[in-house]
């Protein structure tokens, strides 16, 4: 097995340009693998000069082959790059990138509640939305918009959630204080949901919608209000 082909396969599969040092590290790691064969072991201590010579040979071969890509060394790192004349089609390819599916309305609502009320437990989100949010929480967490940020100081110490930096980027916000109409949603008082252990058997049969309606009394506590709504004005 020729060194240059191993290098070629590495550069062809790599997601970023690789320096000679990074390539050398790959050979060392491959030689140390449990199932390393004789070839892998023989290349454990390949020299930088050998690597450079093989890379240069490879670059010449690809230059001669005159295909739509070539091997380039930029700032000491090697990478296969496409030839510039194919840019019109590559631009069209990039433009066609499939967008991630839109966030559903339930996902947006859940996101909004978390954004305004963080840190917040899952149970509290459910109290406000009035429905189970397991699936929706999973979606927005997978999309990297929400993450666990700590634990609530209540029975069971459930995790609390907050929005991520990606959330801010996504919506073009400088910070959470940029969220529009923040005061009002922050003000809605939500009764702490009962800890699972203390749930009465009778409560379990109550439809979730009703549960939420009953408990979600809007108790506006004066001292929590940073600003009065326009009502007074």
């Amino acid at each position: 097995m020729e060194l240059k082909f191993i290098l070629e396969s590495l550069l062809f599969s790599a997601q970023k340009p690789l320096s000679v040092k990074e390539l050398r590290d790959v050979f060392t790691a491959a030689a140390e693998a449990e199932d390393a064969d004789a070839t892998a072991k023989s290349l454990a201590k390949v020299k930088d000069s050998e690597l450079t010579a093989a890379l240069e040979q490879l670059a010449r071969e690809h230059e001669t082959a005159a295909r739509s890509y070539r091997l380039a060394c930029v700032a000491g790192a090697w990478q296969f790059v496409s030839q510039p004349e194919y840019a019109p089609w590559l631009k069209a390819l990039v433009g066609q990138k499939i967008r991630p599916p839109r966030l559903s309305q339930p996902a947006l609502e859940t996101l909004a509640i978390i954004a305004y009320r963080q840190p917040i437990t899952r149970a509290e989100v459910e109290q406000i939305r009035g429905v189970n949010v397991d699936a929706v929480m999973q979606t927005i967490m997978e999309r990297g918009l929400v993450e666990a940020v700590g634990r609530a100081e209540v029975v069971g110490r459930p995790p609390t959630y907050g929005t991520t930096a990606l959330f801010l980027e996504y919506f073009g916000l400088r910070g959470l204080e940029d969220l529009p109409a923040a005061d009002e949603l922050r003000r809605i008082a939500v009764q702490k949901p009962p800890a699972p252990v203390t749930v009465e058997p009778g409560l379990a049969t109550t439809p979730p919608e009703q549960l939420a309606l009953g408990s979600a009394e809007v108790e506006v506590k004066k001292e929590e209000l940073p600003e009065q709504p326009a009502t007074g004005g």
Binding site: S9, F12, S13, Q15, K16, F80, A87, L90, K91, L93, V94, G95, K97, R99, P100, P101, R102, L103, Q105, L108, E109, L111, A112, I113, A115, Y116, I128, R129, G130, L166, E169, Y170, F171, G172, L173, R174, D178, P180, A181, D183, E184, L185, I188, L213, A216, E217, V218, E227, P229, A230, T231, G233
Partner: protein
């Protein structure tokens, strides 16, 4: 003897065991001596019993088939033909051989699939880094905008209001028309404005809704455009390039060919089901 026990556990079924026995004999399936095969098969079943191994029903069915074949062979040839209406094609010997040949081919195919499976583990697709074009149009906008988020907030708020009808949380002092003027004034002064800035001073839900509706309306009337420079950048609002000049008084001076904005402003915007109409009478 112990080697048998090991073997029993790897046989997938009676056909597998038969193929193993044939392989041991080093003969072609077509050449196999079925009587001998039957005897060996039944010996194995018997051994399985001795080892208290659970014997699957399929093995017993095969044993019975083999016993039948074997017993037939023991009859003198002139008596063999008279088996209850049996046609030539249904000779159990042919049927068994056909089954074995077929199964053997699929077993071989499975082995080939296995090597393909192992091969695929070592095949790495080229996964290039993302292409970047500096001078090109902005990449696709995010699939969701702050409009959607606002709308979601409003939905939540609306539900809360329904839950507590007694609570009248706001009294409108804003109208959409006022907000249209406000936005146009800001744009006229600054050239462009960031989306978030428009809402910076909003003190109530009704004000947010009015600002939002005004914005939607102006976009719909092609007075303004929303742009996002970078993929996750700020949403910037600026005057549409081909918008009719409407300095300060857009409501009474619609662009030629455009819908007259004034009556429209009192309706729910058609561009989006995103927001409810302003809560004013």
């Amino acid at each position: 003897m112990p080697e048998y026990k090991v073997q029993f556990e790897v046989f997938e079924g009676p056909l597998d065991l038969l193929l193993y026995l044939i392989k041991k004999e080093e003969v072609d399936i077509y050449q196999v001596n079925l009587t001998k095969l039957a005897t060996q098969f039944i010996e194995y079943i018997d051994l399985m019993r001795q080892f208290d191994l659970e014997i699957a029903g399929e093995f017993l069915v095969m044993a019975s088939t083999l016993m039948y074949i074997k017993s037939r062979e023991l009859l003198p040839v002139d008596q063999q033909v008279a088996v209850e209406g049996e046609e030539e094609g249904e000779d159990p010997r042919w049927e068994l051989i056909r089954q074995l040949v077929e199964y053997k081919k699929f077993k071989d195919a499975a082995t080939q699939l296995q090597s393909l499976e192992a091969r695929q583990e070592n095949v790495f697709p080229r996964l290039p880094g993302k292409l970047e074009f500096e001078s090109t149009a902005p990449p696709p906008k995010p699939d969701v905008s702050i409009f959607d988020l606002l709308n979601a907030v409003n939905n939540v708020l609306r539900r809360f209001e329904k839950r507590d009808d007694a609570r009248e949380i706001f009294e409108d002092k804003w109208t959409v028309s006022e907000k249209v003027e406000f936005i146009l004034k800001v744009i006229a002064e600054r050239g462009s404005v960031r989306f978030a800035d428009l809402f910076e001073s909003a003190a109530s839900r009704s004000e947010v809704v009015c600002t939002f509706l005004a914005l939607l309306e102006l976009i719909r009337l092609k007075q303004l455009i929303c742009a996002q420079g970078a993929e996750f950048g700020q949403i910037e609002i600026r005057r549409a390039e081909n918008a009719a000049p409407a300095p300060g008084t857009p409501v009474s001076d619609p662009a030629p060919g455009d819908v007259a904005p004034e009556p429209v402003l009192n309706q729910a915007p058609e561009t989006s089901g995103a927001a409810e109409p302003p809560r004013q009478s």
